[in-house]
Symmetry: D2
Subunit: 510 residues, 4 copies
């Protein structure tokens, strides 16, 4: 094995497209305490900028209300829950990435619904009513939160119209109409609002150019292009769960890159590209989401995705999610970075590790990313490369050797560095494994939860690293366990030890 010689000068600035947005279950879940405690935890240790979920116009939100006043049928827009939720978002420092949908029953042209919570996926009976709803909502948000604030919230039109589950007949023609009507309504409210679409499902190649051509023709405004990426195969169902095959992780990055490539030559080619959903599996009941494998699988995406798109939004931050009904067990293959009751999954730690990286990239490889910040701290994110279903099982160990330049903020060479390592793998930082060992208690007791919280924390080790005074470098030999994602933080040491201390004397032995 060769040693990676980490350059001492930055090769790039770290892109944080990974942090731009995160997914959530349906909007109305934002009223729940578990959801909000999870979001607060995510924000304190990761810090996403935006949050995107379905169902802002679902009837459970109570926004559109019709009434009969002495024979006159009127419409009242009501913000009771929308305001509670958006207030709560802003409290923890996250902004909405607005997805407009699905259809309120009262405006719907049909009965087709999606999900346990029955989002209506049919076009509006009358576009005027839909447009009025969109306009009223945006105007209200601007009134309440201020124009400057709301202008930073992207507005996306619908979700995955390319699938007939999400848009009646997956009708492209009807979606284009919806897009035109909606995007113009948005701009009528404020021409500086950012609107986009088409929020397509993975690999909807037959939508990209037609969408570009349509808006070129219709003149509908488009400020960004959005789409989704997932890499699992078809669902093999068991009760309350599925198993699926997984393609190679590089497929994810290919999915990220594809739309811009296909749009080459169109007016949309240079727009911001937002992957408004991605994950391994698109199912909220696939146990792969709970594993260290999921974290190791996504590490290259986190590191490389920013080269290809402006954001990619992990679907979702919490298992508080009800598309397939109420989860029957604390671990159930949910999308969440956190389970109900805030047990951290390995992928949570992948993100939390990323949030601790420095702003300058020193090195990047297939199993590592090395950064430095302005205090001199060097951070090494390393992982065992994993390959998807078609690859053989990963070996028990992965070994990595780095020569790391260590210098103080003012450029000097310290005698030693403090190396602080956090490990997540099939055993460490892995409450899913602990929960399996506990016999998979569906609804753990308070005592079991305490043990799961402990098991969910990364294993931490630390040591003093000698810095070669000649080269200003330290050797870092990293042994990773199966499916491990590791963060090593290396701080140059400023030694304050007084001359008179002698640790050999602490225990009083001669």
């Amino acid at each position: 094995m060769n040693t990676v010689i980490v350059p001492s000068r930055p090769i790039a600035a770290l892109r944080d497209a990974w942090r731009h947005c995160v997914g959530t279950g349906e909007f109305v879940l934002g009223l729940r305490r578990d959801y909000l405690e999870s979001l607060a935890l995510v924000q304190s240790q990761i810090g996403f900028r935006h949050i995107r979920g379905h169902g802002i116009f679902h009837d459970w939100m109570g926004i559109l209300r019709q009434y009969d006043a002495a024979g006159h049928v009127g419409t009242r827009y009501s913000w009771t829950y929308l305001d509670q939720i958006v207030d709560a978002y802003l409290e923890v420092g996250i902004k909405p990435f607005l997805e407009l949908g699905f259809m309120p029953q009262a405006l719907a042209s049909g009965d087709q619904t999606v999900f346990w919570w029955q989002g209506n996926v049919t076009p509006p009976r009358e576009y005027a009513q839909w447009n009025a709803l969109v306009a009223a909502t945006l105007r209200h948000l601007i009134d309440r939160y201020g124009r400057a604030e709301v202008l930073t919230w992207p507005v996306e039109v619908w979700n995955e119209p390319s699938l007939k589950e999400f848009w009646q007949d997956a009708s492209q023609e009807e979606y284009f109409r919806l897009y035109d009507e909606t995007s113009r309504t948005v701009k009528d409210v404020d021409a500086d609002l950012q609107v986009g679409g088409p929020a397509t499902s993975p690999e909807a190649d037959d939508w990209y150019v037609p969408f570009a051509e349509h808006v070129a023709a219709s003149g509908a405004p488009v400020d960004f292009f959005s789409f989704h990426a997932y890499t699992t195969g078809p669902a093999q169902h068991v009760p309350f769960g599925v198993y699926q095959t997984l393609r190679h992780p590089s497929t994810l990055l290919e999915q990220f890159a594809r739309p811009r490539r296909l749009l080459a030559g169109t007016a949309l080619e240079h727009l911001p590209m937002h992957v408004t959903e991605f994950n391994t599996s698109y199912r909220p009941d696939n146990p792969v989401h709970d594993t260290a494998y999921n974290a190791a699988y996504l590490a290259p995406t986190l590191v490389g995705g920013g080269d290809l798109v402006d954001s990619f939004s992990y679907w979702t931050f919490s298992d508080m999610f009800e598309e397939q009904g109420v989860p029957v067990s604390i671990f159930h293959g949910g999308f969440g970075l956190l389970t109900h009751r805030q047990i951290k999954k390995p992928t949570f730690h992948l993100y939390a590790f990323a949030a601790r990286l420095g702003s300058d990239v020193l090195a990047r490889g297939e199993d590592h990313l090395v950064t430095r910040d302005d205090t001199g701290r060097v951070s090494v994110l390393a992982w065992q490369p994993v390959g998807g279903t078609d690859d053989p099982a990963e070996p028990d160990r992965h070994h990595l050797r780095l020569s790391v330049p260590v210098r103080t903020a003012d450029g000097g060479t310290p005698v030693t560095a403090y190396a602080h390592r956090s490990r997540v793998n099939d055993d460490d930082g892995n409450a899913f494994t602990a929960w399996q060992q506990m016999g998979r208690p569906a609804s753990p007791t308070s005592r079991q939860l305490d043990m799961l919280y402990e098991a969910a924390e990364p294993a931490v080790t630390h040591r003093a690293l000698e810095v070669d005074p000649a080269t200003g470098r330290a050797d870092l030999d990293l042994h990773l366990a199966r499916h491990e994602v590791t963060l090593v933080e290396i701080d140059p040491v400023s030694d304050e030890t007084p001359a008179w201390l002698d640790d050999l004397r602490i225990l009083g032995r001669p």
Copy 2:
């Protein structure tokens, strides 16, 4: 006007049947932050013992789940949300008063539902399945929370079967079957669990004796008798609201008393009687709930209800309640002691005042209750009597004069007492009035909320009361404003003023 001479010896011990239980919106709302913050506030300032609401078996709770495993259809009971909610109850020191209902879709014999949230109100297709659900739920609760704890949670069978909205056809025969099956199932789980019914709607006179006769015949166990009480007339609808007439407040106490009277001579006569719901109006959209009038109206019930029944449960602690859909405005006539976002209504203060009373009753009248605690504090709860729709409007003022015995914990007579008064009326402690003056903002801004919180606090005044050294008494002259409920707390003063102090010198004037 005569002076009420308050006796110096207790005439009774204060009953706290008013505090035994409080109502809540549907069970699943217990996942919400607003709900839980409201409950925590209610518990810290009032402190109810039990909480009762509908819908423990509603599909949104996700308890009963059917699945198909390779052709075998199985049932799985899942406690994900039930546990989160009951954990949260116990955290703030409140216990469930379990109401078993409504019917999970999968077990229902018909399609009839009640409320916006569609509780199914039909009998089970097969009682065995229903019984299995009941038994599994109770066994799980005992496993998780311990037998000793769960034995203190009453179990009530269904809600208002006497109304066809809540029980298909209001069929007495079918309810009696449900009762028999369910109560026996409960006792099969643990013979010491307390089970009861029939949870009838107000003045369901034709149910009391038949129920008694039925269980006498069937041998079904009954540990308590439960029913409801409301005093409003028919609803006059306007959009998102109703107006109703109100009968005289004494009607409430008559409703409390009636079942036991009618049951005289039956085996149920001496059972504990629980009014598992009461309020002025039975509608969650009648603005009377938001008024000081509501508090003044209910004061005699709080004071006198404990003479007649073992508990009477205010319906409900919070406006987080969705029977008629999502409320469209912060004040909307909801049942709550608190609005969304925890604005205190006048009736909240009536309860909070009651929670500050002493344990010994010294006097009780049509407009007052006087208590004392073991430190010597005398508390006077006073109110303007109000009379319901058929009475003339109340005068602007109500006047009350009391001669109050004041003594220290060890029986001495202090020179003075400290009198601390808290007032709630049409202006003071009345955020509803402030909100009307603000133009009724449906979803108030943070700044408006701050003003509403301030306006919602009782007006506080205080003064030194001279105690007549000869009689050990102080005169208390109370002027109440319209619809006022007042609490006066009178503490004997132990004067620590040093001899050298002279307040005339503070401002340095000769």
Copy 3:
């Protein structure tokens, strides 16, 4: 009485010199929970920018430590407590206004101390050691908190050298040496640090020009000029307290203005002027600080002080203060805006009211200040003028009538405005009065504290104010009680009342 016609256009921008700084007891008190809870409360409702107190170098802070290592006597600077305290300041959003003093015992040339906590007030034995201490401290602060942050912290040299209690012999010559040495040391650490003095006691006229002349001659750097202001006469002692006469409140503003006037023509004339301490009485045991009178007395200073100086720092935010020893009673005449355990005094509310004012001044008079903010809210701060010892006692009432322009944010005229009034006077918002009525419990029980917290909140009233559609004005008739300070917030109403509501129907009466 004439009506004050409030102009509809701003006459000035509101200066917030009153908020620039607040005083504190000795530095080491910043380790205490009561202190930090008080500071957090003050910051949440007032929000000062800086905090200044004595004793950063007092031995209790443990900064300068001498040791003997095998015969060699060394000095170690230790930041254990300094860091805890400054960390805690920054946590609640307040920055130090550094006052360098008093003298560590180990560096002192004499034994003279001041206060119960024995601050040594003698010059350093060797200036080199003092300079080293100053430099080490500033360098450490820059290391820990960053240069950009620390450059916003003014550095003041010593405290009240003009009094022999605070500086041995009140020696001007020695102070000038201290100033020269210290200010140069400060600039040696970083030339952009802001240094100043001479922090003189009130009306030290014989120090201003000599200081200006001295620094002109010595070339010592001076970035700001600082001094103190108090208006009481000599202390008339009783045990654990004093009474004092009070000069007219205008005297305070005269004290603010005087140094700049006397410095006219010197190089210091145009420097920032900081009143680094002011209050009515300079004694921490004068009960005037606990009264509404104190608030009314200081109202004109808050309103007008910013015309004269760049900051004036209320001495002090909390009664957690030990210059005369540990206070023996919860109210004891301490300087604090808050007592121990966070009971708000009337002067707290004067500041909290000021913090709610708008940024544009519409009118200003001897008993009022009217402001408006960008939402259209008009705020009226009004008070009963008080006159000091030599004036007759104030009348029981004060009356004020204003014609207030009311308009919406976009310049329209609303039909009504919501007027929200907060009142503090001899009875309302006055826990001191309640405490007197309680018999002055020196260390109140938890129950007494609860009543005191309630009594300490301003009385709140609210009403709808009609706006004349012709003039866009509303009449405000304000009756103030004795020593009252009142805030009226007037918000233009945007009426959302639906057409179908009729409040006459709420109680169901015909």
Copy 4:
């Protein structure tokens, strides 16, 4: 190595004498936030019953205040700080173990003081004044906290009168007078208060019998006997620290046992025995306190001390302690279970592990204690035996093998158990080591603190343990690192895994 066969029936009930009391720095520190946050943390994870420290009557507490009122010199007792501190204790569920001392300056007969904070250690000038102070204090505590509560607070007379540093001349005769006067005063306040002494320093053999003989003769009341235990040799000073030799840990238990043995035959023989202070070193600046060695050293004492005495109080819970001045560095050899800012030391974990043990002892040996609770959880506390200065250095590893009976709450044999292990040793759960590697930052930055908090948590591992269906036993093979203390919690598993799950399918590989 033999396998320890852990019996399946309890051999004893677990004594919690180790939890009865904990030591603290001087009383007045109880006002500090760091102190109270540390105490809250200690209470939440350990839960001591009592807290004992010096200096309740130190002048910094401000209890005894003399004044001159017009020529009359009076005494005022003031409870400002005492109440704040005791309120704070009770808030976190800990009660005072009152130690009466040292002497207020105003009552002292001499100038001799002890510690940086100058506790006066001379007898009272007049015993009447001392007795009045004691009586007033106890009466006040009973008034404020209730008689029933205060009767549970032991009252100890003075501290270590057997050393001349703590009691002038270490005069036995004078102490006996102090004891007689004080104990009688205590009983005069309430005959049911528990009073005791003589709080002697370690191995003060010449005090035990004389004290017994004295009180037999004088008739002074004695409800318990108290003394101290430490096992270090003389201090070898370096600046801000000491090194010391350590005797064998068994010496501690011998010290615990000795007084009762020597008192055999006296009236005191069967009194409760309280070790009101113990630790390895009696110095607050010996780094041994910061090590894993300290935890391993004390493990046998925790386990066995309860056989010998009724309580033994670890000196102290926090490094917030000032006997030798303000600590100059975050780790400085302080007594604390926690450093300033709440970094957990290894000995904290020893106590936290003990707090997680069950109530039944199954086995006990030189390197282990095995307990079981009523849910069936078996807890194994294991440690590497260490031997003090005169023993050779401990090996790198310690190995332990146990055969553990595993059964469910109802006595069944589970198929597997969940084993959850927490490890503290020279590397794991050891922030001191991390801090050394960081270069011993005296006042760590917020970022360094974050890493130290992480390093301070025990390493957690977990696995499924097979239970032999024939024997109902599982084998536990424990490898301990140097100076390790380990807790293994073994919970019988109730397997809820549904039949249809197959973890081999999660990654989709054939």
